[in-house]
C-alpha cells in the first residue's frame, strides 16, 4: 500500500482503513476533524493483551505520524470475546 502524501490532511476514513488493514481482523470506527481523531477498535488480536499493549498495536499503525500529521488520536480498544459476553 502506498504511503499517503504527508501534505494531505488525514481523514477518519483513511485512519479506519489503515487500522483495519494493519491489525488482523480489526473493526474500527473513527471520527475526527482532520487533526483530532477518536477511534474505537475491536480486534481479536487484543485478546489477552493489557490495555497498554492494545493501544500500542493501534499506535504502531501510524508511527511517526502521531503528533504530526495526525495531531491527536484518542483510542478505545475492545476485545471481541469480552464484547460478546
Amino acid at each position: 500500500m502506498a504511503e499517503p502524501a504527508t501534505t494531505d490532511p488525514a481523514t477518519p476514513e483513511e485512519l479506519k482503513a489503515r487500522i483495519e488493514s494493519g491489525i488482523p481482523g480489526a473493526r474500527a470506527s473513527v471520527s475526527g476533524d482532520g487533526h483530532h481523531f477518536d477511534a474505537v477498535v475491536v480486534a481479536p488480536a487484543f485478546s489477552g493483551l493489557s490495555r497498554i499493549a492494545q493501544h500500542r498495536l493501534v499506535y504502531d499503525v501510524f508511527g511517526d505520524e502521531l503528533g504530526g500529521r495526525i495531531h491527536a488520536l484518542s483510542i478505545q480498544t475492545r476485545d471481541p470475546q469480552k464484547e460478546a459476553r
Binding site: 490495555r51 497498554i52 493501544h55 500500542r56 484518542s74 483510542i75
Partner: protein
C-alpha cells in the same frame, strides 16, 4: 516552596491554558486529583528532548503518560477508562474514591489547585 510559588506548577497551568494538546494532560491531572492520592507531575514542554527521551524509554508515543511504581499505566484514554471502571482507584490504593462520578472536565473552574512536585 508554597503552591503559588512553584514555577513548574505555573508553567504547567500556562501550558494547559495555551496549548490545546494539554487538554489531555489537564484531564489526566484532574482525574488524579479526584482520586486524591499524592502524585508528581513533570512538564515535558520546556525542552523537546524530555518528551523524546520519555517516549523512547516508555515506548509510548503520546503525552501524558501515567507511571505507577515505575511502570507505565497508560495515557489519557486508559487513565479515563480505568477511573470510570474503578481500576485506577484500586491501582492507586484509593478504593474508597467514588467511581460513579463522571471524569472531571479539563480545566474545570471548580478544580482544586494543582499539587505538583518538581522532580526534574
Amino acid at each position: 516552596m508554597t503552591e503559588s510559588q512553584n514555577p513548574l506548577r505555573a508553567s504547567i497551568q500556562e501550558a494547559i491554558t495555551d496549548n490545546p494538546m494539554c487538554g489531555f494532560s489537564a484531564r489526566t491531572v484532574g482525574i488524579l486529583q479526584a482520586v486524591g492520592r499524592p502524585f508528581a507531575a513533570v512538564d515535558v514542554l520546556p525542552d523537546p528532548r524530555i518528551r523524546q527521551e520519555l517516549s523512547a524509554l516508555s515506548n509510548w508515543p503520546t503525552i501524558p503518560q501515567l507511571f505507577v511504581d515505575g511502570e507505565l499505566v497508560g495515557g489519557c484514554d486508559i487513565v479515563t477508562e480505568m477511573y470510570q471502571s474503578g481500576e485506577l482507584q484500586q491501582a492507586l490504593g484509593a478504593e474508597d474514591a467514588p467511581v460513579d462520578e463522571p471524569a472531571p472536565a479539563p480545566g474545570a473552574p471548580e478544580a482544586p489547585p494543582l499539587s505538583i512536585e518538581n522532580r526534574l
